[in-house]
Symmetry: C2
Subunit: 336 residues, 2 copies
């Protein structure tokens, strides 16, 4: 590849090459909205609604994996944080830290994915930033996205609202993203291997809005998987979690890779799933609504809230019981 | 240093070590506000005002330099983008990408600086994220901050509002941040060397609000310096810039380092200055207000808007004229 096909240090220096890169790669894709004229900050309309605000940096490695790349992951991951807090995602920032030598062709594929997924999520790229560091000071590209959303009517979510007897729902198979990335990284090539589930969950949240007041808690089980989410939800409280292994949806591909690597699928990240905890009388309605959506067709009720002080317990298929602990964290680095 | 005094990969894995780090280093400093309970996103009050939104990633090297570090730089840089767009900064996100092996003592100094400068700017850390990458995949720490502000009444800013005859003001000496970082990086130890000007400019903007309608354009001259800002402001238009070198404030330390390194100070970044372009009858009032503030005591009028199509021209002290071009960008990498 010739020098002109690679990111150079000067692309981040604030001079002419920076301007050219932003014009050709950013404004060409995202320049119709508030980015026009490249102000230092975007001025957005007032909505009168409560604002929901989140940020996430993405360092996934490899940059491209079965089912997605760091570009659509950076849109979905951040948009989903807004959605599971009961927000409708509206405005997204896009900040790139690129390594000198990154092929422009890779950057273009990533930005194309950002564009497609932002459109699907209904968010507008409102503001951005571009930095370049020398070879060896970053691994290809790191992306930060921050998102502003508007709070949807009816939602009042929080771990403190969970009570004994509540039901636990998931919108689809768990852990595929983590296993797809790990399979790619470890060069595991199996037939029907796992594909990342990276996707927006905002339609799942909108579908559940009708019974919003009976929904007590929502999260997307990313880093640390469902084990981390559920442990955090009940830690130090007088409630616990009872999961039924036979009811938890897993894909065959994720199962195969998790067994090869010796990783508990309950610790593996999803990037397009929702865990929802609601009053038992609301659960059937949510499940029905979810199953009517393509992204929720494998939704399931996987457990209940128990009185078991702060513990997450799994009833295994074999008939036993085991404690589901927080992962320690070192087995699945750079998964998102 | 022992292993426990360094950032480890598992600090970013979403498990117990991640939680412990966030509790001990983040929540201890910033946990009183919307971060409490660590929701996926922060829910903020509705203001009814128009929202101003910006993002910036910081990769400055070295992490600590005379006058500041990457922590206060990451607050000021982003807050200042809100301010120069006529916004009052309100809510800040804080996203960290850390390299395995980063000393916890360094992280603590940086976060202490974030806390102090956020308080001085009046912004609340509303949401955040922490990632860890392996040794050699980042250079110590990279920080992204995004900021939500509220549009202040009266401002209507844009390069398209600049007209011939307008006056150009700066709030203080230019280029100190860039020269302080470069002197540090190049091991230039001179007496009274430059100190970074990293600081919030929001009080300068508030001070000018009284004549807001007569202010046509504001920017903070960061990467690329005043040369980049002014060239962008007039590029392709039927106006130009005329600068008087003798009126541009520079510190003796910045001057000395710029001469040693052969870098044009007009290309060097400031991180606590404002360039303001206003109708001539408003300029004296702004200058008076600015000079009454500690951060504006060396403010000056440095030039005017000419009819010189898209060109930035400097009248030198020696009596000559030279064109001030956009920097190419490779001379001052990783300055912010």
């Amino acid at each position: 590849m010739s020098q002109e096909d690679l990111i150079q240090l000067a692309h981040g220096g604030g001079g002419r090459l920076s301007r050219d890169l932003i014009a050709s790669e950013i404004l060409s894709r995202f320049g119709a909205g508030p980015l026009q004229g490249l102000p230092d900050a975007a001025t957005l309309p007032a909505s009168g609604k409560r604002v929901v605000f989140t940020t996430d940096s993405f360092v996934v490695q490899p940059l491209e994996f079965p089912g997605g790349n760091i570009g659509n992951l950076a849109v979905h991951g951040t948009v989903n944080d807004i959605a599971v807090c009961g927000g409708l995602p509206k405005w997204l920032s896009l900040s790139l830290i690129m390594e000198e030598g990154l092929p422009l062709s890779t950057l273009r594929r990533i930005l194309d994915s950002v564009k497609v997924s932002a459109e699907e999520c209904g968010v507008v790229i409102a503001t951005g930033d571009t930095k370049v560091v020398a070879h060896g000071q970053c691994d290809g590209i790191y992306i930060n996205t921050s998102c502003i959303g508007e709070l949807l009517d009816g939602f009042d979510l929080g771990a403190n609202r969970i009570v004994e007897g509540d039901m636990i729902l998931v919108s689809g198979p768990l852990g595929d993203h983590g296993m797809a990335v790990m399979a790619c990284r470890e060069n595991i090539n199996i037939e029907n291997g796992p594909t990342s589930d990276t996707a927006t969950v905002h339609r799942l949240v909108l579908a559940a809005q009708e019974v919003a007041s009976k929904i007590h808690f929502m999260r997307d089980p990313t880093r640390g998987g469902i084990a981390a989410v559920l442990n955090e939800a009940v830690e130090g409280r007088n409630i616990g979690i009872l999961l039924r292994e036979q009811d938890i949806p897993f894909s065959a591909g994720a199962r195969a890779v998790s067994e090869m690597l010796g990783i508990d699928l309950l610790h593996s990240a999803s990037e397009g799933r929702v865990i929802l905890i609601a009053a038992p009388d609301a659960a059937p309605a949510i499940l029905k609504k979810w199953k009517a959506l393509a992204e929720g067709q494998n939704a399931a009720t996987i457990g209940t809230i128990s009185g078991d002080h702060g513990r997450v317990v799994l009833h295994t298929v074999a008939g036993g019981r085991r404690l589901v602990d927080l992962p320690r964290g070192e087995m699945l680095p750079r998964i998102c």
